[in-house]
């Protein structure tokens, strides 16, 4: 018998936080990664809530949208 296939639907994801799609892509990627890993520096856990672009180190962008509700992510 062939293996059962574990399939998942792509549905466009959640509403973007930033209108710039390339910026939003970085934010969304970081957000999704930080829901799965805890970054560390040496042995010390580091909590991250924003990022800067290397070409524009003066501007900080937030990673997490405010007031996330449990059902927001899938509805």
């Amino acid at each position: 018998m062939a293996d059962y296939v574990f399939r998942y639907k792509l549905d466009g994801g959640t509403e973007p936080v930033y209108s710039d799609p390339l910026l939003e892509m970085i934010r969304a990627q970081l957000e999704s990664i930080l829901d799965v890993v805890i970054p560390v520096e040496g042995q010390r856990e580091v909590r991250i809530d924003g990022f800067k672009l290397l070409r524009d180190p003066g501007t900080v962008y937030r990673i997490f949208p405010q007031e996330k509700k449990p059902s927001d992510r899938f509805e």
Partner: protein, 592 residues
């Protein structure tokens, strides 16, 4: 920004496509390139969902879509892949042979990549048979699950369910302890699945472990029991609820109540031990419920039930918006009845959650007191009795229930053969000797724990306080808010008061409300991220000093091991929203 982004995207796609295949309309599509989308080509976030939900919209050749919500609970790296792909697809157009292609899903490429450490309990295979039910219990907790719960169920053909179970079995490796990540949702009745025994027989070829089967008993005919007998060791959690055919029919909408009722002597004949499960529900009146409880326990006792498990029922706001009964009135009446029944019943009786009884009746919590012994177990044959408090196992002085349980488990699995126990009985010290080899039905070392000693639940390990101290030290905290539950708080407070570990630290204990589930639910393990956030915000707003650390027991987040609550939301969101460091205290559920 474009060149670095193109390279970033290329690397991302390359890594993603090494673990998943992309698909469109149920067929795998080959991707060999991409280009950045022009602004007018960018899709909206809310893409066309008209092609069906998570379990719909597939071609005939493909299996149904699995639930992403469920994956977020058990294997969030799948959700990570989904979110990464979706964020990429907003900015790039995938191509194959220079032509633009669209995708609407993905599939796991090599299932061996997705093995995870596991105790490899056989339920991890046959549990997937429990997708339907032949009863409709008035108290069924599955009816109280909101749609946003990660434990929803997929509606799929039987053949697909069977294919998944057999694929899981192919990836089931008990010796090294690996199997495929779970996707279990609500579990209904496993025994009505048309291919249940086929799965069970194949599983037995891979595992000698006890099959622990929860069943409503509707299928427990002589023939079925005979098939189970061939697959021993088997232990049943038989949800009989009532030994009265009319009451069982009324409580469970059972079409054939007699089959389950008649199964008890047949199970005994077949040498299959079982725990008889009763959910007292005040149908008609509390008095009728209690009368029936007495009769049902007596019936279980006559038929040598290994254990009688009385589950105190609650209901969420999704189950009923109206108050159905007074919880304290019903629960305390049931517990009081059970305590009376223990006087006259040889089969041990436990009430779940046991901490309700402990909080009501025991001035000293966490004590290693015996509430019953399994018939014909080494404990029963040693003369150990209900009410005994274990003070020593061999020469080891016992100070808590988890310690006693742990040592008895070790003894049961050891080669020692005999062990002496010192107990306190009616104010006197008594020594008994347990012979590990001295037992008969319904006890079996394959299906029982603690040599047949039954306690009032698991208790709280003293080591949790040491772990808590470790968390406090790691954060250099001086003021800790520990979030507990109504049931656990009294025991935790007692342990804290007896401990010398926190003299320099202020530890406040808070009990969040189960607002997500609502109704009369007040279980810590059913709290979700939003309940914790709401409580902490209220606590800080209410004028209390702002704590510098919040500690939460890990059990509301431990189902899949990835720190998700029952909605699939990660506990890290609590810290992100309240701005106070949050740590999980690793611990086990208080349910056995």
């Amino acid at each position: 920004m474009h060149q670095p982004i193109v390279e970033f995207t290329r690397r991302q796609l390359h890594s993603l496509l090494s673990v998943v295949d992309l698909e469109k309309d149920g067929k795998v599509v080959q991707v060999d390139g991409f280009r950045l989308r022009k602004p007018e080509e960018r899709p909206n976030a809310a893409v066309d969902r008209s092609q069906g939900g998570e379990s719909g919209g597939v071609s005939r050749s493909a299996s149904s879509f699995q639930s992403i919500r469920n994956a977020s609970l058990y294997e969030p790296r799948i959700e990570l892949i989904k979110r990464q792909l979706e964020s990429l697809l907003r900015v790039v157009q995938l191509e194959s042979g220079g032509e633009a292609i669209e995708v609407d899903g993905f599939r796991l490429r090599n299932l061996k990549d997705w093995l995870s450490p596991s105790p490899c309990d056989p339920t991890e295979i046959f549990g997937y048979a429990g997708t339907r039910c032949n009863c409709d219990c008035v108290f069924c907790c599955n009816k109280g699950n909101p749609a946003t719960l990660a434990l929803g169920k997929l509606v799929r053909p039987v053949s697909e369910e069977f294919a998944e179970m057999m694929t899981r079995l192919d990836h089931f490796f008990p010796k090294p302890g690996y199997c495929l990540f779970p996707t279990l949702g609500d579990i209904y009745e496993v025994m009505i699945h048309p291919r249940f025994f086929e799965v069970l027989e194949s599983t037995r070829e891979r595992s000698a472990k006890t099959f622990r089967i929860t069943t409503n008993g509707e299928c427990l005919t002589r023939e079925t029991i005979s098939r189970l007998e061939k697959l021993k060791p088997v232990y049943l959690y038989l949800s009989l609820n009532s030994a009265s055919p009319s009451r069982r029919a009324s409580l469970m909408k059972s079409r054939d109540p007699q089959t389950a009722i008649d199964s008890l002597p047949l199970l005994r004949e077949a040498g299959i031990p079982y725990s008889l499960v009763i959910v007292p529900w005040p149908v008609d009146s509390v008095e009728e419920m209690l009368d029936d409880l007495v009769d049902t326990v007596a019936y279980a006792d006559r038929n040598l039930a290994s254990l009688v498990q009385v589950n105190l029922a609650g209901y969420s706001r999704y189950f009923s918006q109206e108050k159905l009964y007074d919880l304290d009135e019903v629960w305390s009446a049931v517990v009081s009845a059970v305590r009376g029944l223990r006087e006259t019943t040889a089969s041990p009786i436990v009430v779940m959650p046991s901490m309700y009884e402990e909080n009501t009746y025991e001035s000293r919590k966490n004590a290693p007191r015996v509430v019953g012994v399994v018939r014909n177990s080494p404990a029963a044959r040693s003369g150990l009795m209900r009410g005994d408090e274990i003070v020593k196992v061999g020469s080891v002085v016992i100070s808590s229930r988890p310690q006693a349980r742990g040592l008895l488990s070790v003894l049961q699995g050891s080669e020692i053969g005999r062990a002496s126990l010192t107990v306190e009985r009616a104010g006197e010290r008594v020594e008994v000797t347990l012979n590990v080899e001295d037992f008969s039905y319904p006890y079996s070392p394959a299906t029982d724990h603690h040599l047949g000693v039954i306690f009032m639940g698991t208790g709280l390990r003293l080591s949790y306080l040491e772990s808590l101290r470790g968390l406090v030290n790691s954060r250099d905290a001086k003021h800790v808010l520990f979030l507990s539950s109504t049931l656990v708080k009294p025991t935790f407070e007692q342990l804290l008061a007896e401990s010398h570990l926190f003299g320099d630290v202020r530890v406040d204990i808070g009990v969040p409300r189960n607002s997500f589930f609502g109704g009369n639910i007040f279980m810590g393990d059913l709290l979700v991220v939003q309940d914790f956030i709401d409580f902490i915000k209220e606590y800080v707003k209410g004028g209390g000093d702002r704590p510098d650390l919040v500690v939460i027991p890990s059990t509301p987040f431990s189902l899949g091991g990835w720190g998700r609550d029952l909605t699939g939301r990660v506990y890290l969101d609590i810290e992100r929203e309240v701005g106070i460091p949050v740590e999980l205290l690793q611990c086990s559920t208080i349910f056995d």
